[in-house]
Point group: C2
Chain length 170, copies 2
DNA sequence: CATTTAGTTCAAATTCTCTTGAACTTTGTG
DNA sequence: CACAAAGTTCAAGAGAATTTGAACTAAATG
């Protein structure tokens, strides 16, 4: 084995690469994702070939731990897709570049689970409202029941609109 | 003035109120807002009367600083609306409860500014790509120009879809 | 089967965000 | 005009989220 085997030196990011990565970092920020996710996706996006762990560490100066976690999260989100490279043991990834798919998966992974959880929470809330009612002035109890009902209506509305939005993105 | 003037004791939240507030805390979480915003909006949402600063501090055990900031942020987002109460110097707020309006304002305040900023960033990127081209293999330079162009297409697409979504929420 | 390489895991450290609380401004009251 | 009440501001503290790095597992190689 050559002496430089485990300490490959990766090319420093040029202006254009930095710009693209910066843009994705700001997108990650808006979406509430950690900076490193934006960096990794950005690198994948502007790289002509699939990327792999060591490259991410080397070119972005991220620790192996961060890079590994980041790659996994992005794969789980569907933002990076595994690519099989024959004769190479490393895991390569290329970016999903269809905005429709990206947004669809984002909505599915983030909003949908919350909507599902809240369905259960709303039922419990309904019971809570009922349980608390006797201790309250009748008009207060009524007001609360209405507000809790409204929450249910909101949930329904968002649940209905979500698939439509996803379809529009087509 | 009575001795208890500045140390009013507010009713402890009952089960139903806690439940509603908890739900909004989880919404805030999904949207990447601080917990306190969820709590304050939740309190306003389940309160039959407009709320004010001291009430927020007292019932949610938040500091005056947090409450003040939180109320302002929610007002800026359009999630809380100022209510004038004659003969009372305090600032009262009631919640915006039209989901359409809430979501519309959320999209406008969060996504729109980012889209606008990115328009400028993309132009610069385009120049960057051009500047970096001479130093690259022709096919790499071409690949980059395409990817940068694609970013522009994404932005356009999202900019187009956003108003449509807002209209659907009608 | 010992060694090397790819990748994962997780506790500790770091960094960043949010909250607190005290000082301050402003406005109303006697 | 002194005082009280409402609200703001912001530096410092507390807390949460992210990143690191070292120890680990798994798989390939000779």
């Amino acid at each position: 084995m050559v002496s430089t085997a485990d300490r490959e030196d990766w090319a420093v990011l040029d202006e254009c690469e930095r710009g693209v990565i910066e843009l994705f970092v700001s997108v990650a920020d808006v979406l509430g994702f950690p900076r490193s996710l934006g960096e990794i996706y950005g690198l994948a996006y502007i790289s002509p070939l699939p990327i792999h762990l060591a490259e991410v560490c080397g070119r972005l100066s991220l620790s192996k731990g961060s890079a590994s976690q980041g790659l996994r999260t992005l794969r789980d989100l569907g933002a990076l897709k595994p690519v099989y490279v024959p004769g190479d043991r490393r895991d390569y990834f290329e970016p999903e570049i269809k905005i429709r798919v990206l947004l669809y998966q984002l909505l599915s992974e983030r909003l949908r689970p919350h909507l599902d959880r809240s369905a259960g929470a709303l039922e419990e809330l309904d019971e809570s409202a009922r349980r608390c009612s006797p201790a309250l002035a009748p008009e207060t109890a009524k007001f609360r029941r209405e507000r809790v009902e409204l929450l249910g209506a909101w949930r329904k509305r968002v649940s209905t609109v979500l698939p439509i939005v996803q379809r529009i993105l087509k």
